[in-house]
Symmetry: C2
Subunit: 206 residues, 2 copies
């Protein structure tokens, strides 16, 4: 059951299951049915069972899923059973918010370096480390084994920065700039763009 046979939509949903299961575990629930998980996540039990079936058989008939076991399996499937190191590019207002966001680290995503193309920013301290010039990217990415780049530069510079990351073998990009970046197929990009979200929302509010 390799990565390629699993629909991407399914992969996008796995983190939802991980989060719901974490909550259930923290709430002391030992066993959960696809029915219960479904009502928690507002989706059908059939979809949850089908999604999980791409990866194996994790439940017990007549009973449901052991919360801790399923959580562990899903975390492993997603590669969340290790630490992922990321660098931040762009330390403006948005960059500051990202580096101070307390949600990444407990989930195993550590921002370990920050860069900025603006020489005024370089050398200043942010979130515990010094902002470095873009010229240091190759060296730092390599030495610190950084596999994810978080892009928080203005739209006009985003494509260029993303290309630089890719040149340096960064395969995962979390892009906050309001652009549609061009990336090679072996790169995984996720865009965070609240304006796009609002703009599709208003269609239904009209």
């Amino acid at each position: 059951m390799d990565s390629f046979s699993v629909p991407e939509v399914v992969v996008l949903r796995l983190p939802l299951y991980v989060r719901a299961l974490s909550q259930l575990r923290d709430g002391g629930t030992d066993v959960v049915s696809s029915q219960q998980l479904g009502s928690l996540l507002q989706m059908t039990p059939a979809q949850i069972r089908k999604d999980l079936s791409y990866f194996g058989r994790f439940g017990k008939q007549g009973r449901g899923y052991n919360v801790r076991f399923l959580l562990h399996e899903l975390r492993e499937i997603l590669g969340l059973d290790r630490e992922w190191r990321a660098c931040l590019i762009g330390v403006g207002r948005l960059g500051h918010a990202i580096i101070n966001y307390p949600g990444f680290s407990p989930e195993g995503f550590k921002i370990v370096a920050a860069f900025d193309g603006d020489s005024d920013q370089v050398g200043t301290s942010i979130g515990g480390f010094k902002v470095r010039p873009m010229e240091d990217l190759a060296e730092v990415v390599n030495e610190m084994k950084i596999s994810i780049g978080i892009v928080a530069v203005p739209a006009s510079q985003a494509q260029e920065v993303i290309e630089k990351l890719i040149e340096n073998k960064v395969k995962g990009i979390l892009n906050y700039a309001p652009v549609a970046p061009q990336v090679p197929m072996n790169t995984v990009i996720r865009n965070i763009d609240p304006v796009l979200s609002l703009q599709s929302m208003t269609f239904y509010l009209r």
Copy 2:
């Protein structure tokens, strides 16, 4: 051609077209083909033409689409031809970043009020207006004709806050809290959750 017959995936893509067309217009391009637009957005020309066909016939055969005209039509379809007023709930670090984010306003989304459940925050000033207590929500939403709520409270309080917004007839919610909120069907919710994005990314980076 009413809202219900249009696939949701199509609606989610319209803002991408709007953004690309805005850029083309700003760059002085008058006419664009589905081919060109597709290569800009990394999608097939057929998909773009099909998407647009749900709403009308905007192009000229043999020629392409008039950039300004199509842009205008799409903005109208999405309801972007007017101003949308939003309130922010939660003025912690994340809330501050949101209120200071310069990307909303030029697109017609105005944050016109801020609330917080924490009495220490209430009365402080942020982004030009005073933070109000949650008790004022009903009154303010009504008086200021707020139709969108932006939720930036901790996960533990998100569901409660969202319910309060819905009680007050706020039909659109942009949720930054890492939860899967339960909302009635006539409410439109969009979740911004960078951790989920990263967690599905790592599946492909393993």
